[in-house]
Amino acid sequence: MIEVKGVCFAYPTGVEALKEVSLEIRDGDFVAIMGSNGAGKTTLVKHFNGLLKPASGEVFVDGVSTRSVSTASLAREVGFVFQNPDHQLFCETVEEEVAYALKNFGFEEGIVKSRVTWALNLLGLTQYRQTSPFMLSGGERKRLALASVLAWDPQVVVLDEPTIGQDYEQKEKLRQFIVQLNAQGKTVVVVTHDVEFVADCGPRIVLMAEGKIVADGDAKEILTNKELTFKASIVPPQMTQIFVGLADFGLPTDVINVHEARRILLGFLKEEEKP
């Protein structure tokens, strides 16, 4: 679906943000890109919809090089939500904001209406239909940015820090939705620092440091690897920390989420009670 081949990229200031990055994201993948501040995550994902073009190397979306097509034509297929929602919101009302792209892509009026209603409901913004996006709270603005992209149901969604500013309930709703999207065959890429969110989703993790990819594997393998997490400035999930602290009882240490933790502890306590 997305193929990144030996991509280098430097900003006009001379900062080399990507150094020979190669990565393959297959149709239907669920990938979390993690890593320290300034590692190059945002720069990398901006290549996925042609917002940035590589200085050298090549990015292919669905087999087509991003050099040979406009960002506008990629937008329909690759929905992109910016790290900072202020870079994305410009309409007078919340409702218009969500309708904007739908209209642009030529959806008919009835569908625009029903998609807007659906997206605002999903992101808990229905009460703000007629409100100006600039009168929303920080978390609400982020959700509006998400709503306006999810509304047109792109085949690939790239979400830069989707959980920023979200309370527990919104985050959980978003998580369930993303997992469901992925189950329907959509390709999902999230850039995130939110370890607990990743531990709950369990996606493939691509780890970046200093403009390079330093690891690529499943969530459990990466989040419980001490050297890797340290290198990427990640603090392991709370459950991993707890189980590392209990290692001398013979419990496994590669536990990342709370349901798994409960099951193991209950099993262990029962077994000990038997004799």
């Binding site: 320290s36 501040n37 900072n84 820090e161 400035s233």
Partner: protein
């Protein structure tokens, strides 16, 4: 001694149809480390804007009730005077940064305080070091990654070492180690210099161990105001949908299965201690 006292604060933004905060009353003691949390849109940022006088002096609108911060009546005192006592890290770092270089941004507030040159230099160096951005000092703030920008925004307020530090989701863009480091620095200022801290945060997992006071807002007013353990263990916090730390969640789930662990842990270290106790008991 209270350093912040609010009585029946109600505020409506210009053009707003409903108040963004309603009847907020609270007392924060000097030296408290407060976590302020609650669902998105409940009024946290609005309340923070009152603490340093942005409301009502920058945002017009209608403010009712009483508010005193650092012995000053916020409604009467100008923003520049409040700024000597209260520092605010904005929720969106981009809105806080305006200078041409990181260094100039961090020095700006200190120059306004009229500090001598060498002291400014010292404070700027220290703040850049604490936030891990010494190598970025010459860079333009708008040419940085999101997390790097947020580090600059935090450095600006740290450098001021104000009596009251209000941090509105200051680590939302930070990598987890970076966030941990910031909480430690802030906690140290709190313990050593007695700086009063008000931290807005959704991810209680990271911050709860430093706090002695938790305030939960819901639907634009305060609904819980207590010590961390009491709040995290309370049914009402869960009903509001506040995300309790994962360590606490495990404890709740185990309790539902009849495993008794004593007092609710708020972080992994405490959970390890409690679990070790149970596992050992079980063994002997």
């Amino acid at each position: 001694m209270p350093i912040i006292e609010a009585k029946n604060l109600t505020y409506t933004y210009p053009g707003g149809t409903e108040p963004a905060i309603k009847n907020v009353s609270l007392t924060i003691e000097k030296g408290d480390f407060v976590i302020l949390t609650g669902p998105s849109g409940c009024g946290k940022t609005t309340l923070c804007r009152c603490f340093n006088g942005l409301i009502p002096h920058f945002y017009a609108g209608r403010l009712e009730g009483e508010l005193s911060v650092a012995r000053l009546n916020v409604i009467e005192r100008p923003i520049y005077e409040m700024a000597r006592h209260v520092g605010l890290v904005f929720q969106n770092p981009e809105n806080q940064l305006f200078a041409l270089s990181v260094e100039k941004d961090v020095a700006f507030g200190l120059e306004n305080l009229g500090l001598p040159r060498d002291q400014i230099r010292e404070r700027v160096d220290w703040a850049l070091q604490m936030t891990g951005i010494e190598e970025l000092r010459e860079r333009a703030p708008h040419e940085l990654s999101g997390g790097q920008q947020q580090r600059v925004a935090i450095a600006c307020v740290l450098a001021m070492q104000p009596e009251v530090m209000v941090l509105d989701e200051p680590t939302s863009f930070l990598d987890p180690l970076g966030a941990q480091k910031i909480f430690e620095v802030v906690s140290e200022l709190n313990r050593k210099l007695g700086v009063t801290v008000i931290l807005v945060e959704h991810r209680l997992d990271l911050a709860s161990k430093h706090a002695n006071h938790v305030i939960i807002m819901n639907e634009r007013t305060i609904v819980l105001d207590d010590e961390p353990q009491e709040v995290f263990d309370s049914e009402s916090a869960r009903l509001i949908g506040v995300g309790i730390p994962k360590a606490t969640k495990l404890w709740v789930m185990l309790r539902q299965n009849g495993v008794r662990l004593g007092r609710a842990p708020v972080n992994p270290e405490e959970a390890v201690q409690l679990l070790r106790g149970v596992l050992q008991r079980d063994r002997s």
